[in-house]
Symmetry: C3
Subunit: 249 residues, 3 copies
Amino acid sequence: MIITLTTDFGDSGGFVAQLKAEILKLFGESVKIVDITHSIKPFNAIEAAYITRTTIPAFPENSLHIVVIDPGVGTNRDIVAVEYKNRYIISPDNEALSLIEPSKIIRIDKSRVNPNSSSTFEARDIMVKAAYILHKDGINSLGEKKESLGYSLKPQKVKNKIKGKIIYIDNFGNCISNINKDLLKNGFERILLKNLIFRHLEKTYHSPTSSYKALINSAGFLEFAYFKKNFAQEFEVGYFDEVEVYLKQ
Amino acid sequence: MIITLTTDFGDSGGFVAQLKAEILKLFGESVKIVDITHSIKPFNAIEAAYITRTTIPAFPENSLHIVVIDPGVGTNRDIVAVEYKNRYIISPDNEALSLIEPSKIIRIDKSRVNPNSSSTFEARDIMVKAAYILHKDGINSLGEKKESLGYSLKPQKVKNKIKGKIIYIDNFGNCISNINKDLLKNGFERILLKNLIFRHLEKTYHSPTSSYKALINSAGFLEFAYFKKNFAQEFEVGYFDEVEVYLKQ
Amino acid sequence: MIITLTTDFGDSGGFVAQLKAEILKLFGESVKIVDITHSIKPFNAIEAAYITRTTIPAFPENSLHIVVIDPGVGTNRDIVAVEYKNRYIISPDNEALSLIEPSKIIRIDKSRVNPNSSSTFEARDIMVKAAYILHKDGINSLGEKKESLGYSLKPQKVKNKIKGKIIYIDNFGNCISNINKDLLKNGFERILLKNLIFRHLEKTYHSPTSSYKALINSAGFLEFAYFKKNFAQEFEVGYFDEVEVYLKQ
């Protein structure tokens, strides 16, 4: 059994260890726990959207993924279990799931999962326990179906123009948009980001013709990069900055 | 076999990997190594006290816990093995153990454990080896009993007043005191921290009546928090700041 | 099977998780993945040299070690598999391997390993797959032999003088040189670093006679340290600063 963890708990405290301890107690020592990251900026669920979208499908089928960026802990916001490409994700229903298109959504019945949950650490008291119930009895045993998720980050398309935005900035300063390669498959005329114009895509970070560039990254998203430099710093690009693509007509 | 690691080695060097390599060589590949944290501020053993106190009891019984915040490495300070709620901790005898009440304390006989230890990396040369001896032959085989630990962080109680302090500040800026919920079970009149007064406890980080608040956290300690803000920064609270509780008379 | 990872990917993104997902898919859940570090400064391969040199031999024989600090990703720089003390390392042929003296070097035939590799994530598409081929079919099946590695960090010795440099600064500010204890075994007259002179070596970080000191560290390298202080900050020492040793004549 593989379980991954994505949180904003940071690496300096004991929260992550408490989650792992609970997982080990329920699933036994044979469980394989993989940290995706615990360095999401506190409460910044959007940052988890791209990471969740690109890492979870890479894991084997039937793996379980717990995502906890949860400013609403202790309130009545939904915690959901979703099926996505035959993997399972448990998360509060927030921006962290906004790039996912699940085949099934269950609103977790918290009082059924753990009537004695603390109100300050539902990741441990509800989400890990829900993961174990899902593993034992299937996703449907966690609660009732929910029609759709609360958040979506899909780009807008109006006529020949796609309006997207920067949704992730990686460790190297590469800036990733929410525009998938499928949207560009019939060609484009130009891509605009701040005062930069891109008229073609490069194949690799290293290219002889340009130092900064647009490319389709290994996850299939439109990305902006600067060879051996930090694109985000160099051009002062931040989260949610607008990306416009003018398609071929 | 579960072994956890808590150190101030940081995540950027090779020290942690060398510990893990040694553990794998002694215990074999079936051992389950869990990082609690390696981000304790260098030499700041107090920071490990709360983490140790709250995470270790969460792990299964008979698990082994190595805690290395050790400014005295290479000197003759004690390294101890302690039994605590049927878990086992190996650590230098310093502030990191100051919130633990062990049922047994053994002063590790270093020359028996490893007469050829380096003087600069006793975590690897003494502590991991001691963990393996404990696992194989029991805690008593590590050395002689010791009466008590060198450090304690218990709050003082004088008449109807409890004097505690802030002993941990988490990733979200929540400030945690050394005052356990048991001390408050008969009610209190007011709690003082810097120029703030709290007259009741909230149940959750999110509450309609106040933005900053006192509550009993999921580990059972009195904690101060600010909904979606950083309490420590907002009120300039630091380690060891005094917390006073006036109990009901 | 033990596989370690050393990268400059950082802990905040999804790259490391994608590597692990790929490893789990190829090797199965019984594989033991150990993070050495993901906090190498982006593109700073030299920083990985000391970590690689000191951690890899600590792991059991036949363990596999993937090292990815790779500013040249997507270009035609070599990716190599090397045998070193009966362990195996897969890495781009750069400074990260400059303290290693391998018994065998294979230039990995990338198109044989994965003709469909992305050009932006060869760590996943080439290096993990090469690790699996090495595990299954042996190192020789990965490509042709290569005579020598591209980089070496050995100190120079001219007459009675050794010219080395600072090649690693650890989490505590200790400064480590590329000078091995074997070079000093017949004694020395003095060691120079910036405007500091050292005439003898201490045995431990704590010593009664001096607050800052030179010593042979647990990995066998000449290191400079300051008891309970940060040597690098205190004396403004940086990577590549020169270390001169005048040997006894």
